[in-house]
């Protein structure tokens, strides 16, 4: 009889408790039945990367650490949006606000910290925000869309990152800082001043020695008044003056509290069955905010929970390696001035680099680096080891390991020179040796592989360059530096980057994209121009003006060019249906314009080939008269919705497959997509309409409709994956439209749905469409909105509307 599982309850779902669980699952997966209560309504995400989300460089789902499937895979119950209100230590139970009570054998408190809100008059006005979690970022993004001015109180790391993010969102920003120089806890005055100058050059108004007296406004924030009486009008105030360990719950339940929840070296609180990790903790008088020590404590806590009796946390001096608004900063040890101290300073104003080393006697005690932090780890190891610096080594010390031997080493040799135990990634405590052995053991070839296997450069990312040098050093040219596939030769950016930047930087034309994103060519090429035209159309429906000259000829003239310069014409056949009138009209057009070839297509339609370009408007006019419109057989758009006759005729039919097929086609025709999209609806599992090799397929069954996605039947043959089953026709329409819109949002140009599916993963698509009703409805509504601007028949516009007449007429030179 296996040992009964112990119950581990976790309060809080941040990065520290996340690492505790990872440690436990690595060591003894079966030991605990884990239940998490998270006050925030979401999964564990990387808080260091909130700033790129605020500035728009990254999206939320890119910074997720544990997705829903991680919790499912490890049998963890995650109560989202459940704030715990009571711990009954006698009964060993925990109760959440919504009334969920569970018992625990071991309890882990990870309630993190609260932003400190200075109790100024007006601090509770709407528009006063903190900058701690995703909800804060979303509030800021909503308010930032109205532009206006934001005042950030606090010139520390968080305040400056909030300021840079709001600036990137188009707001004017003022930063108020109490002390004479910025980030005085991490930087010395010189580096603080350099940072201030850099931020001012970007348009951020910095006011040091600024003491805020009051926040003014009727019913909402309207301005800020300083002690010296100056007034600053603004629409938003971000309070980023510091954090306080969140100890209220622990205190309420009678645990011993200092500034934080006091714990011993095993992360145990005053109650032997209750542990605590993260920013709410106080150990040996210290509270912690940086990832490196928090991850180290989490690792130890995980080991202790798994029964280790020798694990103990020792407070160690930590270095601070930061990237504030794109500027690399590093500081370690004690860099305050002192009379018995000497300093070595290196300044390169034009390159924005400042380095200062502080020595006591022949020992290095402190270091501050601004602009170039590559040698930070090397200096820090010297501070920790307390190594004596011989006199002749002193004059090259400031230049780091590369010059230690006097001659400059190239980056690869510098990496080669590092000892195996040298720390490459500070956040996750990953050494050079660990990365090299992982590359061998797991056959890694790229950055993502190293991130997944060793976690190096997966948190704040500032060691990415070092990890890449290591890969290049280990694999030689088998490692190609930027694994990201660029859109084309005109740019170094990948498709996803361009799509995201179009939205975040609000770029509304192809010249704007090329200007802002630094295209290397004057006006792009035949690969990027059509892609950009689509991305802009998809990002700004009803707003972006289609650039015809950036479309491939087929889409420009709405017909397929043939090898002899003639064109083919394929009218739409809703769900593959036709009628006597349509057939007569087709026959008449074929005779009238002597169209040489008439053919049935794989998509259940009729194709007329060999039409001269000048005849196209005439052909379309006659087809329009018979009620036929363009079949978009030429476009990266919806092509066909094949159907079988289903319950209307067939003895096996379970639903009206033809009816649903026609409704789908009427809903989707005219929609521009990253690549062609083919659908089919089969009336029963015999699947005569071959729905299971289509981009989107529906297989009707007695109890409803199976929604299939990701099929292919061209160069590659691939069966679809079942996304879900729905009961009603209306749901089938909504789900198919949501899939198409998600594809329109995320697909890379010329990436079919099955390739997009392979890239993002069925589970992610399932999460965003099946598991998240609001998101599905939002996708559905956005699709229908975009269709309002793309469902006018292009043939009619040209046959009778005179649109693009020049395309269909050759020039006749004047005599």
């Amino acid at each position: 009889m296996s040992k009964a599982k112990e119950r581990l309850v976790v309060i809080g779902n941040g990065m520290a408790p996340g690492r505790v669980l990872e440690t436990i699952f690595e060591q003894d997966p079966g030991k605990f039945d884990v239940i998490i209560f998270n006050a925030e309504p979401r999964v564990n995400y990387n808080r260091i990367m909130l700033s790129p989300v605020l500035s728009g460089e990254q999206s939320y789902d890119e910074i997720i650490i544990h997705g829903d499937d991680w919790y499912a895979d490890h049998g963890v119950t995650l109560h989202k949006g459940h704030k715990v209100v009571e711990i009954d230590r006698a009964a060993k139970t925990v109760t959440s606000e919504p009334g969920e009570t569970v018992s625990y054998d071991k309890l882990l408190i990870a309630t993190g910290s609260n932003p400190f809100i200075i109790p100024l008059p007006g601090h509770d006005l709407p528009g006063v925000l903190a900058y701690r979690d995703l909800d804060d970022v979303n509030n800021m993004l909503n308010m930032a869309s109205a532009r206006g001015r934001a005042v950030v109180i606090g010139g520390g790391l968080l305040g400056l990152e909030a300021a840079a993010g709001l600036l990137a969102q188009g707001m004017q920003v003022t930063v108020l800082h109490l002390m004479p120089t910025l980030m005085e806890r991490q930087l010395d005055p010189a580096a603080g001043y350099l940072l201030e100058k850099e931020l001012c050059s970007r348009g951020i108004d910095i006011r040091t020695e600024a003491n805020t007296k009051e926040i003014v406004g009727e019913g909402k924030v309207e301005g800020v008044r300083l002690e010296d009486g100056t007034d600053i009008a603004c629409d938003m105030v971000v309070m980023a003056v510091g954090i306080r360990p969140n100890t209220s719950l622990a205190e309420q339940s009678g645990l011993q509290i200092g500034r934080g929840i006091t714990v011993d070296a095993c992360m145990r609180t005053s109650d032997p069955d209750i542990f605590s990790v993260g920013e709410c903790v106080e150990f040996d008088g210290h509270c912690y905010g940086l990832v490196a020590p928090l991850y180290e404590q989490a690792r130890i806590c995980g080991n202790v929970l798994c029964g280790a009796d020798d694990a103990a946390y020792v407070h160690s001096e930590t270095s601070t390696k930061l990237k504030v608004t794109g500027v690399d900063l590093f500081s370690a040890g004690d860099f305050a001035d002192g009379d018995e101290r000497e300093e070595i300073v290196f300044r390169d104003a034009s390159r924005g680099i400042y380095k200062r080393l502080i020595l006591e006697g022949d020992q290095l005690v402190g270091a501050v680096l601004y602009g170039d932090t590559a040698d930070g780890a090397w200096f820090f190891s010297k501070i920790k080891d307390g190594e004596a610096i011989e006199t002749e080594a002193r004059d090259t010390l400031i230049f780091g390991p590369s010059f230690a031997g006097g001659t400059p080493l190239d980056p690869m040799e510098a990496v080669a020179a590092l000892p195996d135990e040298a720390e490459i990634c500070g956040c996750n405590g990953v050494s050079k040796g660990k990365i090299l052995s992982a590359i061998d053991a797991d056959g890694l070839t790229d950055l993502d592989g190293v991130r997944v296997c060793t976690k190096a450069s997966s948190s704040c990312g500032t060691c990415t360059g070092l990890v890449e040098s290591l890969l290049a050093f280990k694999l030689g040219d088998a490692f190609e530096k930027n694994a990201v596939k660029t859109m084309c030769g005109c740019t170094d950016l990948g498709h996803s980057d361009v799509r995201r930047l179009i939205v975040s930087q609000k770029l509304k034309s192809i010249p704007a994209v090329m200007q802002e994103l630094g295209w290397k060519t004057s006006c792009g090429c035949a690969k990027c121009r059509p892609a950009l035209n689509y991305y802009l159309l998809a990002a700004w429906p009803g707003e972006y003006k289609d650039d015809n000259q950036s479309r491939f000829i087929n889409e420009r003239v709405h017909a397929n060019i043939q090898k002899d310069g003639t064109y083919s014409v394929v009218p739409r056949a809703w769900g593959g249906m036709t009628s006597a009138d349509e057939l007569r009209a087709l026959a008449d057009v074929i005779d009238k314009f002597q169209i040489p070839t008439v053919k049935y297509t794989g998509g259940q339609r009729i194709d007329m080939l060999g039409v001269k370009k000048e005849d196209l408007p005439g052909v379309w006019g006659d087809l329009n008269k018979a009620g036929m419109v363009s079949g978009h057989a030429y476009g990266k758009s919806l092509r066909t919705v094949k159907t079988c006759v289903g319950s209307e005729w067939c003895r096996f039919g379970t639903q009206d497959s033809t009816g649903l097929g026609i409704k789908l086609e009427k809903m989707m025709w005219g929609s521009w997509t990253p690549h062609k999209v083919k659908l089919a609806v089969s009336g029963c599992p015999r699947n005569c309409a071959e729905a299971t090799c289509k981009d989107i397929g529906v297989v009707c069954v007695d109890s409803g409709y199976e929604i299939h996605i990701g099929g292919a039947a061209g160069m590659e043959v691939r069966g679809t994956d079942i996304l879900c089953k729905v009961e009603t026709e209306a749901e089938a329409l909504e789900y198919c439209a949501a899939v198409l819109q998600l594809y329109r949002d995320q697909g890379h140009y010329l990436e079919r749905i099955y390739k997009w599916l392979a890239r993002v993963g069925l589970d992610k698509i399932h999460a965003q469409i099946v598991e998240d009703d609001n998101n599905r409805q939002d996708l559905y509504e956005r699709f229908l909105f975009a269709q309002k601007f793309s469902q006018t028949d292009p043939w009619a516009e040209r046959a009778t509307g005179g649109v693009d007449a020049h395309e269909f007429k050759t020039l006749v030179p004047a005599e």
Binding site: S522, R529, Q549
Partner: protein, 110 residues
Amino acid sequence: MDGMQPLENWLNVCDLEDIPVRGARRFETSLGEIAVFRTKDQSVYAIDNRCPHKNGPLSEGIVHDTGVTCPLHGWIIDLQSGEARGADSGCVKTYPVKLAEGRVLVKTVL
């Protein structure tokens, strides 16, 4: 430009505005079809409308900088030299072009 009297063998083809920017138009001549291109910087070029590769109609291609990408198989033809760019080798005939009072003139007979 000395007045508008007909110049020997310069064909008065069309208005500059008849040609879309980063686009092209085509006209028939006894020697076959010629395409006139108008690039982003408003300069105009005239070349045979037959790609050296497989006679694709270059006038239908996407125009970028001083090149056009043939719609059939993606060869890039330089509008100034008529030469194929990159690994492809081949050349198409080019014709001198002049602008006079908004009209595009092409010298078809050399």
